[in-house]
């Protein structure tokens, strides 16, 4: 009996033609079912992710190399690497670099301050607060910061009482550095979330051992603490880099799309604010963003492997 016959006879057929045959049929049916069932069970997930994730991503990559009339071309990629689009990428990378290194360092100090505190309430409060704030972005954050540091904001008013109105000293909330300042609001909590488990893995026994050997606090950090933590801190900063590089909503709503960043430029293309004949530029910017983020994530996984050597 061949496999096709087994298929044709179906899983329900146990009517024996002859004793020996029935056994093999059933065995084969069972074997076949065993092979088909995992495929069937995984099918919905596989189909969904291919349609919802695979095809759109491939479409972006493919369209990046096509002209508006559908011909293969490198013109889009070329355009994106020059002029205003190049500036968009450089600004995005600079923004992501600033808002990963600064909150990365601040986040470590904050996480350490919380980790060493004895209050369980404080820890739990900070854990939930970080969970919420790290997810916080876009329109809500924009409004809060306009109410705080906008030209009539609360903090602006307080500071101008002390003749320190930041707007009179070159500060503009709706600019590149304004966006960077606002990003700290979700980047610091994100760093706290990422780094807290690593700090928990810093065993007190190591510190005691160092102290028994006569090491000062500084020496302990220089030779034990920082080397152990460094891969985790770098990993956290890479995550922060990716998070800031890909963010669109906050920058767009805060500056009404006036700051030159790669994601904002994609938004402009999608909204139709583009020279005719350059509609496919958006895909090329998208491709560039995918490349930068892929590099970031590859570095992240390398650093993470190194981090897991000492921690956990």
């Amino acid at each position: 009996m061949t496999v096709t016959e087994a298929l044709a006879s179906g899983p329900g057929s146990s009517v024996p033609e002859a004793g020996g045959h029935a056994v093999t049929t059933q065995a084969r049916n069972k074997g076949l079912r065993r092979a088909v069932r995992p495929a069937l069970a995984m099918a919905p997930f596989v189909i969904y992710t291919v349609l919802g994730l695979g095809i759109p991503t491939l479409a972006v990559i493919e369209e990046a190399f096509r002209s508006d009339t559908g011909k293969l071309t490198l013109a889009n990629v070329h355009t994106v690497m020059h002029g205003t689009y190049r500036l968009g990428f450089l600004n995005s990378i600079l923004l992501a670099a600033i808002t990963s290194v600064v909150p990365g360092i601040l986040g470590v100090f904050l996480a350490y301050a919380i980790e060493t505190s004895r209050s369980g309430v404080l820890r739990r409060l900070v854990a939930t607060a970080s969970g919420v704030l790290a997810n916080f972005g876009g329109i809500n954050l924009t409004f809060m910061f306009i109410a705080t540091l906008g030209s009539t904001g609360v903090l602006t008013a307080w500071l101008s009482v002390a003749h320190l109105n930041p707007w009179n000293h070159g500060f503009n909330l709706y600019s590149f550095y304004g966006v960077a300042f606002v990003y700290l609001y979700f980047q610091i909590p994100l760093m706290v979330l990422v780094i807290t488990p690593a700090l928990g893995g810093l065993r007190p026994a190591w510190r005691e051992a160092a102290e028994n050997l006569g090491a000062s606090s500084f020496r302990y950090w220089r030779t034990v603490g920082i080397p152990v933590l460094l891969p985790s801190v770098l990993g956290g900063m890479l995550l922060l880099f990716g998070s800031a590089f890909a963010a669109y909503a906050t920058a767009d709503t805060l500056t009404a799309g006036t700051v030159t960043l790669a994601p904002i430029q994609i938004g402009e293309v999608l909204n139709g604010n583009v020279i005719s004949g350059e509609e496919n530029i958006g895909y090329a910017i998208g491709l560039g963003m995918l490349i930068v983020l892929t590099i970031t994530m590859v570095l992240y996984s390398l650093v993470r492997r190194r981090a897991s050597r000492w921690l956990r």
Partner: protein, 285 residues
Amino acid sequence: MAALIPEIASEELLGVPRVESDPQRRRRPRIRFWRGIVLFFAGVYFLIPIYAGLRFSLQNDAGQFSLYAVRAIPSQVGFSAAFFLSLRLAAVTTVLTMVLMVPTATYVHLKLPRMRRVLDFVTILPIVIPPIVLILGVLHAAPLWLRSSPYLLSLIYVILALPFVYRSLDAGLSAIDLKTLVEASRSLGGKWVSTLLHVILPNIRAAMLSATVLTIALVLGEFTMASLDLWTTLPVWIYQFQQTDGHIATAVSMFSLIGTWVLLTVIVSVDRSQSRRSRRRTGTL
């Protein structure tokens, strides 16, 4: 990149076991001093904007205290349409995500443990691919009839929710003795569907709850895709409405922040009591 965060957030929310620091550890006065300073500045930085947002919501144009913005929310043009659109999208997304992911995650845990690595990888992809690039591809690839429906957003939100929904379900399934439960149910004659509904689901309730709340929070706050797909969901409405009345727009936005915070706090405490109970149960066994 909003999608990046939930992975870590949910790990923290799910109470990933942590190494407790030694309670006997000596307190250094110097550390206590600088810890105070760090916490003070962090508190100032994180609380002032919240205070400012709340204050602005509770003010009228003359800058006096007033509840007019809060009272006026429901009667604003387009508010209820946007709010209910967001709620519908949240409901559809949640149901789709659960129907897709609960059987898949269960099956993989039970029969295909090798596939867990593949699933880990696939469900991390939405973190690498930013929403702005994904919507670009979706709007290009989706057929016209789908592009004209708001539920296209729900279909993509399922993808955005994958990273933390899968992680949350994965943790929930790892915490129970799935194999024994399923074998017991099957040997008592239970069919697969009833095993899933009556045996597995009740046992991963907490994981499903946290996945659901995170999904809802994601859908209610998502701005990038909704605005570029030209649907007026709640965040898009808030953004457009600020030109009409900034106080009302800010009030709505503060409400959604507080709502999310309360919901997340609730899941964390539900989760905590759940894990405490299960620990006690295994302790007595």
